[in-house]
Symmetry: C2
Subunit: 204 residues, 2 copies
């Protein structure tokens, strides 16, 4: 695409680096911004920059935070003995949205994936073990593994379990089964098989 | 969506003002940018700001431009007696991409649309008439109306034609007909009807 302006071209090239944004969408964004008033564009420009300059990761759980220790890790109202291990920040938000979990979190920043060159030392695993060993910010009784059910997630689960067992914490994982609202007919057999195997008492 | 950080929230809110971007995409963009290196994020942030601070509109055709007069309007290689009237900057790019047009342009910045509150004075119509009256940047012999075939486009065409006729310029418009590659069976009847009515000599 030949653009009539170098400045527009630069903005389009930059916007097209966002995930899932092609040159055509980037151009639409750029032309839209051109028409917006300057203050709004300045606000957007600064908000983006602040993501790098002002945003922190919590010292303990590595979730994004405006402060050195995030509100969850510093809250006395949470069950501070339970730590839920998740892949990324979105997963924390997803679990928080259920309002069913009152413990703390630990964001690994990925899962072990030799194909993508992501090993044990690229993830926040050492800091998880240190949390348990030092009891800082709180003594840990239970670690809930809430990683994706993929080969990489399973590998990471397996590795973490082996590291955690000697530390004397209880290791649990998310229940797998037929999703609420799903019909059995269209549930994949592995999920259905697991849900029969791990059947639970009926709550009448 | 409850975000764990005010700074992240601000970035998501700002990104979600882009056309067609919802909160979920905005969050994906923001989390992506968080992981990028600072120089890249700074480049993006500045490129966006430059759209307001550094980008101009050509004094004559109102296309976007890095300079006061755009490269097309200042080129002596173009057919400077022909002016193609289009709705917006994207239309200029679309026509330029065909490499079939060597004249100049005039970007109206929209079409007459009473429902959206866009009237004659919100568009670059007076400046088009002035270009013809003054012969600046070049004497105009022909005006090609290349507006969309919508009610608003037709209204604008009609209005422009009435203004242009007294000025003694030739007014033409884009050929309408069956698109190249389309089968007659699936062409809408208005298009097919027009293409029979305005049939052209066969080029053997």
């Amino acid at each position: 695409m030949d653009l009539p302006s170098r400045i527009l071209q630069e903005a389009v090239d930059q916007l097209a680096t966002l995930p899932g944004v092609g040159k055509r969408s980037a151009l639409r964004y750029a032309l839209h911004l051109m028409k917006e008033d300057e203050q709004h564009v300045r606000d957007l420009s600064e908000a983006i920059m602040h993501l790098k300059t002002h945003l922190h990761h919590c010292r303990y759980c590595h979730n994004v935070s405006d402060t050195e220790v995030c509100p969850i890790c510093s809250s006395e109202k949470r069950q501070r003995g339970i730590v839920c291990v998740v892949e990324n920040v979105q997963d924390v938000m997803a679990i928080e949205n259920t309002q069913q979990y009152r413990g703390l979190y630990h964001v690994l920043g990925g899962v072990i994936s030799p194909i993508d060159g992501i090993g044990v030392h690229d993830l926040e695993i050492a800091s998880l073990l240190r949390r348990i060993e030092t009891g800082d910010p709180a003594p840990v009784e239970e670690v809930v593994l809430a990683l994706p059910t993929t080969m990489e997630g399973d590998t990471t689960n397996y590795y973490l379990n082996r590291q955690l067992q000697p530390l004397g914490v209880r290791v649990t994982t998310l229940a797998r089964g037929v999703a609420v609202g799903d019909s059995l007919e269209y549930t994949d057999e592995i999920t259905l098989g697991r849900s029969i195997l791990h059947r639970i008492p009926f709550e009448g």
